[in-house]
Structures are given as C-alpha cells and as structure tokens.
Point group: C2
Chain length 213, copies 2
C-alpha cells in the first residue's frame, strides 16, 4: 500500500531553513549547511550528472529516500516565484529537468495550467486544499509512495491532519539560531523511531507516524 | 583529563521541559514524557533501590552517563525552592539521599552555607558565576568529569561560553509543543556526533563540542 512520507534535513535546534529567508535566498542564512551532507554523496552527484562523491551511509540514505516515490506534493513557496497570481515565466527553481521525474502537485491559492518539464516531471497546481492534492497524488503514484517535499508548512499541515505515515529526519549537527521551524503547531503525533543511520555528518532517524486512537 | 559534559533528555521539537512550568510542576506539562525511557531501565531502578526494569541499550546509556562524574553543576531553578533569598528549610527535590553522591555546585545569586546530605552529596551555593563554579567543580572532581546537570539555562551558559566539551542528547520522539528550549541563544557551536545509540523509545546522540578557531 502506498505510503505518505516526508524527509527533511533539520538543524539540531529544529530549523529546516535559516533566518532571513527571501526570494533571493529562499533557504535562509546558513540554510545550505543543512544539505552539505547530501551534496557530498555519490548518490546526489550521480543524480545530477556529476562524478565522484562519497559512497557512505549518507549516500545510502540519499538513495533510499528517492526510491519508490510516485508523486510529490510541495508548498507554493517551495515551488517559488513569489506570492499572488502566477508569473507564467516562472518554471520553478530547477531548470528544464527538475529532479522529481514524477508528477508534482503544488499547493496554491492561484490556478495555473499544468507545466510539463523534461525528464518526466509535470507540475500540477492544486487550489482545493491538501486532501485534494493528496487524492490526486495518490492516484498518480499508484502503488508507489507519495512524498511531501516541503516546505515546513506543507509538512506541518499533513502531519497535523494525520495524513503522514512516515517522517524521515536528517538531523544535522548545526545550530542555526533562527529560521523556519518544522515541528510547530503539529499537535501531539505518535512517533516511533524505526530506523537510525549514523554518520559523522548527520544522524538519520526514520519515524513511523501513528495515531492516538 | 577531566571533561565538562552535559546530558539531557529532549523532545523532538527541542524542549527539555514542557509548557507551564511551576513550583508544583517544575518539569512542565508533559515534561515527564521525556524521562519515561530512563525510568524504565534497570539502571535507574537499581540506582533508586528498586528491582526489575529493562536491560536494554537505554539501560546501558543510563549507566554510561552516570559513570565517571566527580562533580555536578546545576542552576538555581533545578535545585528548586523558588526565587530570591533562600528558605533554609528547602533541601532540594531529592530527599535525604540525592542521586548525585558527589559535590554539587548550585549557581545562585543568594549565598548559603553548604548542605551536606546522605550518600556523599553536598550542595555548595556559588554566587560568583559560572566560571567560578566550574573551577570549584573541577577541583572537586579531580580526574573525573564535571557534569552540567541542568536546567536549560545553565547548559546554555556553559555552551555559549565555550566551556562544554560534550553534549549527550537523548532525543525522545514526542512533540511537546512548548516549554523550555535547550538550544537557544548558544551561538554557533561546532558539534560532532561521536556516538549514536538507537532504541524504540529514544535516540541517544553524543556530540563532541569543538571550537571554530
């Protein structure tokens, strides 16, 4: 059965983006420090057409989290392009061939025609809420999983609604001191650590999300 | 060489005590959920004169963190008894035989004579700051380690001052949603995970604290 999962890199003080996020620096000050572990892996480099990189436990995790995903859901801000009605010139941050290779459902208040990119990625813009987006993503994913790609607000909404089955956190040993917190206003979810992978750079903890009933 | 260490149980959203702390409930609402993993261990039960408990990876960690400590330092609020000048009737939360069995240095603005308890615990009240307290604790500990017992504010002060060598976090898979955060206003310490122990109840990560120089 298809699961709804999310995987994020998070600072030890709980931030998934640094302070002072802006259109120019959407990840905030110091936010890239959360992703250095991934960029160093052979998995990431292969996926982006580069050679080298480390064959490490981190590389295995980076591979694990991209396998078996049939559709993604992301918030409007993660897709980018600013607030309000769409600038149709904006095609996302990722160039012609985004690293999703599946349908991607973007949560937004502003309708827009689907955007077919190279490599199998098509962005669909969903204006009728998180459940409608999930229904469409599940249908697109078939037996594969649906991944909530981010940002924090999208993950919070699915977690709070009890719709998330698994949360995979990559706990990076940095203190950002401010920014966008992940686990705010999410209620009191039942979280069960089911897998832990440790490396010098990061501690990966996969949590199964249960229900209190 | 004697190290300065600290070990705390922390919620996944970064709190070491729950919301609405009070004299009656110093650990805050839900705060005891952070310590259930420890209370379930054979280590804790033996230490408190009880039988049973689990012989688990958690029990090994609970044993590890209490070994080799020659002195503790704690904040005034952790010792308890309210703010302001001392009520000399207040002897701490722990009864006649506190679980420290070493000298304990209490950071306070209000002087008080040392308080000798059973079992080797003596509380000393230090009014001239965290460095003075550390000097006295180091002297008392000899070759053994000095542990910053808590609360969050005391740990923050030592971390911010670059005086902490090691931070051992027990990351409990609960979301408290509010309370006392540990990693606030601590600057940008270099943290290196050097040991990870996983169990179904908690993920223990031991960080070595470095310097940026």
């Amino acid at each position: 059965m298809s699961r709804v999962i999310s995987q994020l890199s998070i600072s030890l003080d709980g931030y998934v983006a640094g302070p002072n996020q802006s259109l120019e620096n959407p990840i905030g000050e110091g936010g890239m420090r959360l992703h250095e572990w991934a960029l160093a892996t052979s998995t990431w480099r292969e996926r982006h057409g580069q050679e080298g990189g480390e064959h490490s436990p981190d590389a295995e995790v980076a591979d694990e989290v991209q396998r078996g995903i049939g559709a993604y859901i992301m918030g409007r801000r993660m897709f980018g392009g600013g607030d309000g009605p769409w600038d149709e010139q904006w095609l996302g941050w990722w160039g012609d061939d985004p690293p999703y290779h599946t349908p991607v459902f973007v949560l937004t208040h502003h309708g827009r025609e689907p955007l077919k990119m190279n490599g199998g990625t098509t962005f669909h813009f969903v204006t009728d809420g998180i459940r409608a987006a999930l229904d469409r993503a599940r249908e697109a994913a078939g037996d594969l999983d649906v991944s909530i790609a981010g940002g924090a607000s999208a993950v919070q909404q699915y977690l709070r609604a009890g719709l998330l089955d698994e949360l995979y956190l990559h706990i990076v040993p940095v203190v950002l001191g401010g920014g966008e917190r992940l686990l705010e206003d999410v209620g009191d979810p039942v979280l069960e650590p089911v897998k832990v992978v440790a490396s010098p750079a990061v501690t990966h903890i996969r949590y199964r999300v249960g229900s209190r009933s």
